[in-house]
């Protein structure tokens, strides 16, 4: 079972398909869950504390906005931990954890620099594209066996 980073990190479709084909999706929820279930300083809503943007300095310098660094502190470690990644590139209105375009650009770059297998896709607009989309993910994941 490979650990597959999904982008958008909140994607239901990618999360489902990765798990459905027997692999472990690395999604935003898992990072949030870890924070929500760990005792510490109270910092609702996400239990992201002002310490997180400081941890994010590992990924972006201090002149980069705190929101970028805070998000990178959540997602950067997942990219480092991933065996592969599936990237959907046209998620225009994917809010929440993917709300900042600069973070998303940096994250996409970080995935490339890791040198792990990456599958690039766009969302399927038609039923035929849906078949191609699912097939591509299935075949990509099958190629990860034995990792």
């Amino acid at each position: 079972m490979a650990k597959v980073f999904i982008y958008p990190v909140t994607s239901l479709i990618l999360s489902d398909l990765v798990a459905r084909f027997g692999h472990k999706p690395l999604s935003a929820a898992m990072q949030i869950r870890e924070r929500i279930q760990t005792a510490g300083l109270e910092s609702p809503p996400l239990q992201v504390t002002p310490e997180d943007p400081k941890k994010g300095l590992k990924y972006a310098a201090v002149e980069v906005p705190s929101g970028v660094r805070g998000r990178m502190a959540l997602f950067g470690p997942m990219v480092e931990d991933a065996d592969a990644a599936i990237v959907v590139n046209d998620a225009d209105f994917s809010f929440g954890c993917m709300g900042c375009a600069r973070t998303n650009e940096l994250l996409a770059f970080l995935i490339r620099t890791r040198g792990i297998p990456v599958l690039d896709l766009v969302y399927p607009r038609t039923e035929e594209e849906g078949i191609e989309f699912v097939a591509a993910i299935r075949d990509f994941l099958a190629g990860l066996e034995g990792k």
Binding site: P25, A29, I32, R33, L41, E42, D92, A135
Partner: protein
């Protein structure tokens, strides 16, 4: 800053979305309650949230998926159900991630179709999906010729 004491430590919460002609979210909920194994199940407008030990949650989800495999979709959730930090009633509006779901749900029928049709296609018969577009633009010399031909 106040000390934070987490609840539901050691549990997972998963969303179960259903988008099916044959099954409504409340049908799904009824079936889930029957096999609930004592875990927490919360009905929502799109399906369910199931909270409990990971193995138990996965067991229920596997059984639910078998009811309508291509129309049931699952993902992890960071918060337990009804958490005031993420509850619509407290925020005055949807949490930001909701719009991401709303967006993907407009496309999910295509994924369902893919899951449904794919097994019957022979191996190698499915073309590669459209990758992010890198269509070539008209080269500048051709453009110049077009402009000149229009002007003459």
């Amino acid at each position: 800053m106040a000390e934070y004491k987490p609840r539901y430590v050691g549990t997972v919460t998963k969303y179960v979305f259903v988008d099916s002609p044959d099954m409504t979210p409340s049908d799904l909920a009824l079936r889930a309650y029957e096999i609930s194994l004592g875990v927490m199940i919360k009905e929502t407008c799109f399906g369910l949230q199931i909270t409990g030990k990971e193995s138990e949650v996965d067991e229920i989800i596997n059984r639910l998926r078998s009811l309508d495999p291509v129309h049931i979709f699952v993902k992890d959730r960071g918060f337990p159900p009804g958490d005031p930090r993420r509850c619509r009633a407290n925020l005055g509006g949807a949490r930001p991630g909701y719009y991401g779901h709303e967006y993907e749900l407009t496309l999910i029928k295509n994924v369902s179709k893919g899951l449904e049709k794919l097994p019957s296609r022979p191996p190698g018969a499915v073309p590669e999906p459209p990758v992010p577009k890198t269509e070539k633009k008209l080269d500048v010399h051709t453009l110049k010729k077009i402009i000149e031909s229009q002007e003459s």
